[in-house]
């Protein structure tokens, strides 16, 4: 071996061009990676973790540049290497697994051709040999029908399968190092396990070194030997996984660890005023197949009902039915004791006002051409006819309420805000209507952990102060544990279990609830192994 370290990065500085100048985005990072070792890079977005991962391949995204330092891959200096030299190591010596396999597979080519492209183009083997290897590795990663699955196009595979196919693709040239860039972030908890298991299969059994990039400490704890905590491009703390989780040195790491302990358990039975009642509701998109069947649930004033399920379980559809965007075909929805017209068009303004919605993607929910003032001012004008000075005062109040300084934010255009700030503006827009009930559709899933917690804490404060009810749609059970009073679990368009939080979270559960709960990673390095062992043994018995 040419050097002890497969990858050795020393004093790396990377700069990004924005606000008309070069700014340091990776600040003096050094790291070593040995054969068979997995190094976890953890931090929030903007921490520079993906940039470091890509720099390990000698690659920078548009608008970034390697400023100084040294990146040695198996003894070869990548800093200042020619395009052709870099091309020859990419894929062959160091491979990349992207966050979204759905976006990172070319939609026009079959999976197997994309797998084989690397080894064939690098001149390592011919297509037939690559195809045989692919089948073996697909089999190893438990992809269904490994002989034929490669002939499919990317859109024909599920998200979890696609992500595993991408893990397989990264192995096509048998590289020494694989960079995993948030490979499970876009997935449901149950599919996340499949991918984590395949990451483990590759790194442990096939003895590859890996950089594992994520914002989720519980996930990285399952696969990494060592963890580096990053913030704003700099290193916060580095350590062996078990040590770091047991005894974090820095406050920031402790913050990341001590997550999701927000809720005080409101187990009071005295509140009986029902805000929303959904009774025997059915809905369909095409008039034939019911996407929702037999839905019954109630939401009480000042309480939070969490609606949980995997993607495709009908949670968002139920939100559309409640808001009237998709009229229910059968059943009744009543709001504050009054029956609510199933169709949005027949609801009066007052009912529209009292029922607001906050969306998953604050980027797309805000008009990029509008200022914060216009965004929040619009519902004030629409529902109350408030304009001019009075509106200005309300907007400033609302901004204070969502903990954004009015003077600083009121004239900003929405694209100038960060993700968390945008989501706060969406909340202020909903609050402007003075609603009784807000549907929150995956409002934190696009946000970083600490930002998401800030949003959750804000929502809880608002609930306490203004006695608003929430229907909280999420696939993240940790969020549910943190804020829900009542939990409703959906599967395939039906409610399979519902009840008070403590009731649902205490065994015995419905079998599906059990699976869902067991799939949430906990801050324990042995959790994944134990879970996989357990599954294997139940499978064998």
């Amino acid at each position: 071996m040419k050097s002890e370290n497969l990858l050795q990065i020393r004093n790396l500085f990377i700069e990004g061009f924005y606000e008309n100048q070069w700014n340091t985005i990776v600040d003096d990072i050094s790291l070593d990676l040995k054969r068979g070792e997995v190094l976890g890079l953890i931090g929030e977005s903007g921490a520079g973790k993906s940039t470091i991962g890509l720099a390990a391949m000698g690659y920078t995204r548009q608008g970034c540049r390697l400023a100084s330092g040294s990146i040695k891959l198996d003894g070869m200096e990548l800093f200042g290497a020619s395009e052709e030299q870099l091309r020859s190591i990419r894929g062959e010596k160091i491979a990349y697994v992207a966050q979204s396999a759905a976006a990172s597979f070319n939609p026009s080519h079959r999976i197997i051709h994309q797998y084989a492209e690397g080894p064939v183009q690098h001149g390592i083997m011919d297509y037939e040999q690559a195809r045989k290897n692919a089948v073996k590795i697909y089999d190893r990663l438990f992809l269904p029908d490994p002989e034929k699955i490669g002939l499919k196009y990317p859109h024909e595979l599920s998200g979890g399968q696609l992500q595993r196919a991408m893990v397989a693709m990264s192995m096509s040239c048998e590289p020494d190092i694989i960079v995993f860039d948030e490979p499970t972030t876009a997935l449901d908890v149950t599919t996340q396990i499949e991918v984590l298991a395949s990451v483990k299969e590759i790194t442990e059994k096939m003895n590859k070194a890996a950089l594992y990039i994520t914002h989720d400490l519980a996930v990285v704890a399952q696969v990494a030997h060592r963890i580096m905590v990053l913030r704003n491009g700099g290193l916060v703390e580095e350590g062996e996984t078990r040590r770091l989780i047991k005894k974090p040195k820095e406050k920031y790491t402790r913050d990341l660890l001590s997550v999701r302990t927000l809720s005080e358990d409101k187990n009071d039975e005295d509140k009986t005023d029902v805000i929303l009642k959904v009774k025997d509701v059915y809905a369909t998109y095409n008039g034939v197949d019911n996407v929702l069947e037999d839905i019954n649930l109630t939401v009480r004033q000042g309480r939070t009902v969490a609606l949980v399920g995997e993607s495709g379980s009908g949670k968002s559809t139920l939100a559309r039915v409640i808001t009237g965007m998709l009229p229910a075909t059968r059943g009744e929805i009543s709001f504050l004791g009054q029956p609510l017209s199933p169709d949005l068009k027949h609801r009066d303004k007052n009912n529209l006002r009292r029922l607001q919605m906050i969306y998953q993607m604050p980027d797309t929910a805000l008009n990029p051409k509008q200022t914060v003032r216009t965004v929040i001012g619009r519902p004030l004008d629409f529902y109350f006819g408030t304009r001019g000075k009075e509106a200005e005062k309300r907007i400033r109040d609302l901004l204070t309420r969502i903990e954004l300084e009015p003077a600083k934010y009121i004239d900003r255009l929405t694209p100038e805000l960060s993700g968390g700030e945008k989501q706060r503006i969406c909340i202020a827009r909903a609050l402007a209507a003075e609603p009784d009930f807000i549907i929150c559709d995956e409002v934190t899933s696009a946000l970083d952990q600490l930002v998401a917690e800030g949003i959750l804490a804000l929502l809880q404060d608002l609930q306490r102060e203004m006695n608003i009810s929430y229907l909280f749609i999420t696939h993240d059970l940790a969020t549910v544990k943190a804020i829900a009073d009542k939990i409703v679990i959906m599967l395939e368009g039906r409610i399979i279990e519902q009840g008070e939080k403590t009731e649902v979270l205490t065994p015995p559960h419905h079998a599906y609830t059990d699976k869902l709960l067991a799939s949430v990673p906990v801050m324990d390095p042995d959790w994944l192994d134990n879970l996989l062992d357990k599954r294997a043994s139940t499978f064998l018995s």
């Binding site: 894929g91 990349y96 976006a103 690098h122 859109h155 024909e156």
Partner: protein, 320 residues
């Protein structure tokens, strides 16, 4: 998802509907021309009897919707009526001219499409370099000149100065293919100059747009060569806008080349249409109008269908 065959059938249905609507517009438009057709054609001095006879021959005494129906059904059967100017069969007048128009369009397309797609790909590959800028400026300059200007420049250069190609592109059926090609090369080159910029820029933009995708970054990180990334990863995914702009330009080559035809005295359909409008030869105008509309609509329809087939999501839904 619906099977792609249904999407195609639906698209074809829309195309058919559009043609019917256009035929109505052509018919009504001609109806709305001021004055009496018979008197306009026969002139001030025609006697009452000749005018009557003429109206009868043209079935002008029938109500408009009946005439429309008769005209349309005859048209579908290939009977385009008789020219008012010389009494010859309109189909005979139009037929060989339309063939000529198609010949010129196809010759131009054979030069222009590969040229502009290639240039577009190269401009995307070397984007923001000197090469890219030179291509952009050159093609844009060509599109900015009027067609006849380019035509006369080419004539001055290649016919007058060097005498390689004829300035009159007068072709007839007795010529061999090579002779015909030799004759139409100058008009074809003129048209190439006109359409290349549009197609090239669209190709470049479509490819650059796709180059921002995550799967392009993935391909780069797999260590694939840049040229291969453009050809194999970017181009197939930018086909749809390219197909559309190619179809639009093909349609233009069939429908909009009358100026070039006039400059080169080329016996195409466009020139016939202009002549007939000035002579008020209504059957010819109607027939050529409908043929042009048909060409335009079917080309656009083909573009849409090809775009559907280029998308594996739609193509696959057929089997699943």
């Amino acid at each position: 998802m619906k099977p792609v065959i249904w999407l195609i059938l639906r698209r074809a249905g829309f195309g058919f509907l559009t043609i019917i609507v256009i035929s109505l517009i052509i018919f009504i438009g001609v109806e709305l021309l001021p004055g009496d057709v018979a008197e306009a054609v026969l002139g001030q001095n025609a006697t009452q009897e000749t005018v009557e006879a003429f109206r009868k021959a043209l079935k002008l005494e029938l109500p408009p919707h009946v005439r429309y129906w008769v005209w349309l059904t005859d048209f579908v059967q290939g009977d385009f009526g008789r020219s008012l100017a010389n009494g010859r069969e309109v189909s005979g007048l139009i037929g060989w001219r339309f063939a000529n128009t198609l010949f010129l369009a196809l010759t131009t397309a054979a030069i222009a499409i590969p040229l502009s797609v290639m240039l577009g790909m190269m401009a995307a590959f070397y984007r923001n370099t000197l090469f890219d800028k030179v291509i952009s400026i050159t093609t844009l300059s060509f599109i900015s000149f009027p067609e006849f200007f380019i035509a006369y420049i080419l004539i001055t250069l290649f016919s007058v100065q060097f005498n390689i190609f004829p300035s009159m592109a007068n072709i007839n059926e007795s010529m061999t293919l090579v002779a015909k090609l030799h004759a139409v090369l100058l008009p074809a080159l003129t048209l190439t100059c006109v359409v290349t910029a549009h197609m090239m820029r669209q190709t470049r933009a479509a490819i650059i747009n796709v180059l921002a995708s995550a799967y392009i970054e993935m391909a780069e990180l797999k260590g694939i060569r840049r040229l291969r990334i453009i050809m194999r990863h970017a181009f197939p995914n930018s086909l749809s806008p390219v197909i559309n702009v190619v179809a639009l330009n093909l349609a233009y080559l069939i429908v909009g080349v009358v100026i070039v035809e006039v400059v080169f005295v080329y016996p195409g359909l466009g020139q016939l249409l202009v002549d007939s409008v000035s002579k008020r030869d209504i059957p010819v105008v109607q027939a050529s109008g409908l043929i042009f509309a048909g060409a335009y609509i079917s080309l656009n329809m083909m573009a849409d269908i090809l775009s559907m087939l280029a998308n594996p999501r739609l193509r696959q839904s057929q089997t699943s």
